[in-house]
Homo-oligomer: 407 residues x 4
Amino acid sequence: MNFSPSQKSKDYLSRLRKFMDQHVYPIEHEFTQYYKQHNSSGNWKEWTEHPKLERLKELAKEAGLWNLFLPDNELGQGLSVLDYAPLAEEMGRVYNAAEIFNCNAPDTGNMEVLYHFGSDDQKKEWLRPLLEGKIKSVFCMTEPDVASSDATNIETSIIEDGDDIIINGKKWWSTGLGHPMAKLAIVLGKTDTSKEKHKQHSMVLVPLDTPGVEIKRMQNTFGVYDAPAGHGEVHFTNVRVPKKNLIMGVGAGFAIAQGRLGPGRIHHCMRCIGAAERALQLAIIRSGTRQAFGKPLAKLGGNSEQFAKARIAIDQARLLTHYAAWKIDEHGVKNSMTEISAIKVVAPNVLQEVSDMAMQIHGGAGLSDDFPLINFFIQARALRLADGPDEVHLRMISRLEFKKYLS
Amino acid sequence: MNFSPSQKSKDYLSRLRKFMDQHVYPIEHEFTQYYKQHNSSGNWKEWTEHPKLERLKELAKEAGLWNLFLPDNELGQGLSVLDYAPLAEEMGRVYNAAEIFNCNAPDTGNMEVLYHFGSDDQKKEWLRPLLEGKIKSVFCMTEPDVASSDATNIETSIIEDGDDIIINGKKWWSTGLGHPMAKLAIVLGKTDTSKEKHKQHSMVLVPLDTPGVEIKRMQNTFGVYDAPAGHGEVHFTNVRVPKKNLIMGVGAGFAIAQGRLGPGRIHHCMRCIGAAERALQLAIIRSGTRQAFGKPLAKLGGNSEQFAKARIAIDQARLLTHYAAWKIDEHGVKNSMTEISAIKVVAPNVLQEVSDMAMQIHGGAGLSDDFPLINFFIQARALRLADGPDEVHLRMISRLEFKKYLS
Amino acid sequence: MNFSPSQKSKDYLSRLRKFMDQHVYPIEHEFTQYYKQHNSSGNWKEWTEHPKLERLKELAKEAGLWNLFLPDNELGQGLSVLDYAPLAEEMGRVYNAAEIFNCNAPDTGNMEVLYHFGSDDQKKEWLRPLLEGKIKSVFCMTEPDVASSDATNIETSIIEDGDDIIINGKKWWSTGLGHPMAKLAIVLGKTDTSKEKHKQHSMVLVPLDTPGVEIKRMQNTFGVYDAPAGHGEVHFTNVRVPKKNLIMGVGAGFAIAQGRLGPGRIHHCMRCIGAAERALQLAIIRSGTRQAFGKPLAKLGGNSEQFAKARIAIDQARLLTHYAAWKIDEHGVKNSMTEISAIKVVAPNVLQEVSDMAMQIHGGAGLSDDFPLINFFIQARALRLADGPDEVHLRMISRLEFKKYLS
Amino acid sequence: MNFSPSQKSKDYLSRLRKFMDQHVYPIEHEFTQYYKQHNSSGNWKEWTEHPKLERLKELAKEAGLWNLFLPDNELGQGLSVLDYAPLAEEMGRVYNAAEIFNCNAPDTGNMEVLYHFGSDDQKKEWLRPLLEGKIKSVFCMTEPDVASSDATNIETSIIEDGDDIIINGKKWWSTGLGHPMAKLAIVLGKTDTSKEKHKQHSMVLVPLDTPGVEIKRMQNTFGVYDAPAGHGEVHFTNVRVPKKNLIMGVGAGFAIAQGRLGPGRIHHCMRCIGAAERALQLAIIRSGTRQAFGKPLAKLGGNSEQFAKARIAIDQARLLTHYAAWKIDEHGVKNSMTEISAIKVVAPNVLQEVSDMAMQIHGGAGLSDDFPLINFFIQARALRLADGPDEVHLRMISRLEFKKYLS
């Protein structure tokens, strides 16, 4: 249980902070406004990235702040999950800043899948351009017609047909689907429902321009369309791809999906903690600079106690997340199920509560686009469902508790 | 403490329900989609009402379901606040349905101001077309540069100059500002800061086409622009109107504003309760029709306990709101301060919690535009700030408690 | 839904308040100290009532404040459940004050059982002395070896044997068992487990001096022995009583138990509300008279917001309890299951939270015997289990909700 | 931030667990019953330790499990605060087990005061017998007449008079005052109120048999007298002791008191975490072995989610406590104020909530003396006030937050 940041991690953090101060915070508001004003869910085919984004990505690459998430010395920066934790937290302070460093979901999770489980050909064709930031990708798991929080419910079919496989099904909340650079979907479906329930699934790579792939609509999340990536509904109708597009062959889909979610969940949580820190900072500053009833808000009613409670909640969430990261590094994902589920519940809920409190301190401004608070809130709210709803994670934790004491 | 609905109220409720079933629920989804797809905050000058809305208003008028909020036998339907409570609740089940019955904020509050405090000329010029639904209006109170939850902070100036008055200042979160039919702003400002602090304010009627009135922008609320009415920022620069536009003369503004908020807060709360009932209904139905881990969601984990707690919370909120309505009817706004503040805290918080729970039950669908849950949530979240933030109401209640026991 | 107190109820309340002021508050502390110092669970056979108690009972009888709970004009005072509500609340302000007015549990519930379901002989033998306050009684339902929150689990057997019945089983948490005047136990057990599950139970009157009845021990509740009545464990070993001691014959036990709990739960809740009001009053007074960091506690941190939230919670709990009382009066217990379960959850939880908050405001004194706060807390905590734990009531409510929307 | 237990700590933990299994758990229930039945607050002068306690202490000494709390190689076991953390947690699983290892409050804090600040004579006279477990001691800080959560309120006077000092004042909630072996009080009072407010206090050693020291009463805590140590009220009337009994001379009292509370608070919190783990364990076991409505309680309603939430809360509290311990070890008490205050709020609240939940799962048994749950609850509830109420710690944390962002 040594959570002390390594020297390497500290160096990266120092450089990342400088980069954020110099390049990211100054442009934060401009980016938000751009996506709000130039895009809407109705015209998603015309969505564009902010014109300055590619330049920022170049700068990040030059600064060696690229693909920080990948624990590979050559392809990434060779940082452990724990090393990466404070970096993800720092990125999380600005909504969507992870994109600048090629550290955004779902690309990170997709790259990890390809890195760990992809064939050499798959890596060459898809992992490389993803690592270079030339293309974007989508992960298609959730389905509209079933409670896919129970992955055994999934209905999309992935059927072998000679040298090909044929995909049929509907997916939604596929993040990144609206991105102008989105080229690849990784699709989870079922091949053989006669098998044991965790051997039925397959995972397959589907280029988005394959015939039969149809984006039905982009979906607002809590009213917000989240350009330029967005979340959308996509239908697969007799989509045919060669068998070599299967990852690890038929029947491996469930296991890959489980593995994919471990570190990915941690990354989300780290970003939540950074966002919560930022929200608390904004709330405190606001409370010191607005007056009501003859006092700064900081001195009114229970406001200061709210700040103390937020400080405690954030510190606890960070420790638990570092602990989970350390445990994954030391003992692997399978032995860290309680911890991964725990932070997956804790971090988004802390962010939701701290954002809500910070909004309240800001008054009407807190609900506006002038501050990043609503983005933080929606990020948290969505994450309480994405990658497994709170309830599924609590269920996992209680089952592991029962095993300790009940036979 | 007789909350039994009067026969008159029951009759209206019966007719209202029929109207909702016949005309409103069937068109609910279509309305939502329309405003999402045809409008964005960037193009607010082109916002339009849904083409079928005016026809619905005509039907409501014909059905005698018009201006239900106004306790006047001729101009309204002569319903008391308590009589109106279940009707407002019923309307609240569909987001923005109150508009169809000319019972939407801020027009209702503005009409009440004109009804109770307006001169004959003011009534003729503005109250009449508002009651007829020919025009829309705006209430300009909140300001961007001060914590206007403390109304004594307000900085907008309303200065006498011969037969005119001149208005200077900035307002934001002015609801309805973007409506194509918006014609009138009621503006609260200060005339004489040397006076006792509750005698400094004046309230003035300002046609929106007066020179010097400039709509700076429409503001997203929690990411949502709320077309066709919207909420916006408006600046007043040397705006000149005749003195007869003052309501009750200089110095009466604070008292009118206080009076305006009493029943208005109740109306909001009633609608919250209707929305919370709807959210609970949707959650229960969803939980009975989706399966995970081999059971309907209704039987998983603590879901059913969540429903029970929601039932309790809603029933308690309704009783408290009816109690407050009854107390206003019987004892007046001034003697009902604890109750008004109490429901103003309770109802939006109950709606926020129940909506959040219902979203969670719906999974990703709960965050989408396919269900009204996010609209209910945002309605609640905004209302926790509008008409006085929770903290100001708790402050009011505790001060009244102290008076009971501490000298 | 007319909760206005009747003139009769108002008259009783006025006289009751006078009585409390004159006779009860002045002796409150003395009573508490007496039971703490002169009794312990080890010496329960020597427990005595406070010497002044019988005199207080005489005064209450003389004042016509006797058996207020019984809705019978002759035997009680002919007050409806709703009429009685504010009286029970008033008594609840002083721990155990209901005893003075012969309105304490479990005697009230037992008297109601005898009143509604007892034979003439049973009434003559047991109801009369109970109504006169000459004897005390016990209700034996909960069992140590099973989760008796599910009454179908009950294991005590009540078996017919010729003209007698024979009782075997263990009961605990039998309130009043240690009282020096306790003479009668009403015992719930099972007669015929082959019957439909709500027809298996019988209820029987067992004089405590019957051979085979053995008090094993008096049980501390949350560390407190609650003299002079106490709660205890009693074993029945081949206890033989005549068949005429059955209430309503074999198989009627479950239905009677259900009926018994309806108004009884309401009474408990009313007393909780009175206790919560008292706790809030004490907290506010304390907060105005103690200084820390240069201010009265009332002005520190979030204390005043706590008071406001307590005010809201208490007012909501009272309204819900009055509503449930009114509904029982108008529509009967069977049609009021949601409301009875709802207040059974709400009222004790509100009292627990308000007492906890009031303790915190009192500092160390709040945990001492110098204030009634710990008694209120323990009363609430125990009541969250007694008469059905929170979870069972939430379960009931959710089942009724499901019936509305799910077939 | 290396929380990995040292090898030394792991060895101690292994031996401590063996000792607990062999000697403590088997006698837990017997000890509880003994103190309940043989003692009451009324007869405190006759209180005795359980006859087997001294033998257990001897065994603990022999096993090298003695004075584990003291970070001194000779006098204690040379364990750091972090080393000690898991040991204190283990002890905390059984109420008052720390006594067996001479690791109980307030003796530990008192020994630390003497160890760090005492003169050689003071150490010889008092520290030695305390370390040997020959005598017990009391810390007199809290006062009945003022809010002593603000230590500047303290009214007890410690006045120089020639070679003596004279003490006058009232103290209450002095833990250990009723112990048959209590010999020494460490008293905090004020010497010179004209000085700067943190230089006014002095701390003085007062043998309990000094004339003028009068134990007025033992105080129940939440109804429980906590024999054989207890908590009591003691008055000092013209108590005269020699000047050499001052610790660090006049004016040093406040600083010593602050220093005393740092590690002491951590110890309390560690024990809370052990108690919470035990409560959760008991709840889970109970839930697996009791049936209601045809299922084990573990499968009913939201029970399993409660367990998962408890697991998360306990794990977070442990991490935060270890972090605070590590920070004290590495950076000293003064630089760990946020962390010390944070765990002082978190740990008792977690224990209160988990105990409350575990009681509810146990039904009536949970409120009885048959399980340690009520002791855990009361320990937590009292600790939310002792060593500074929650509110004072939240105040401290928010002030440190403000310093970060507001000038």
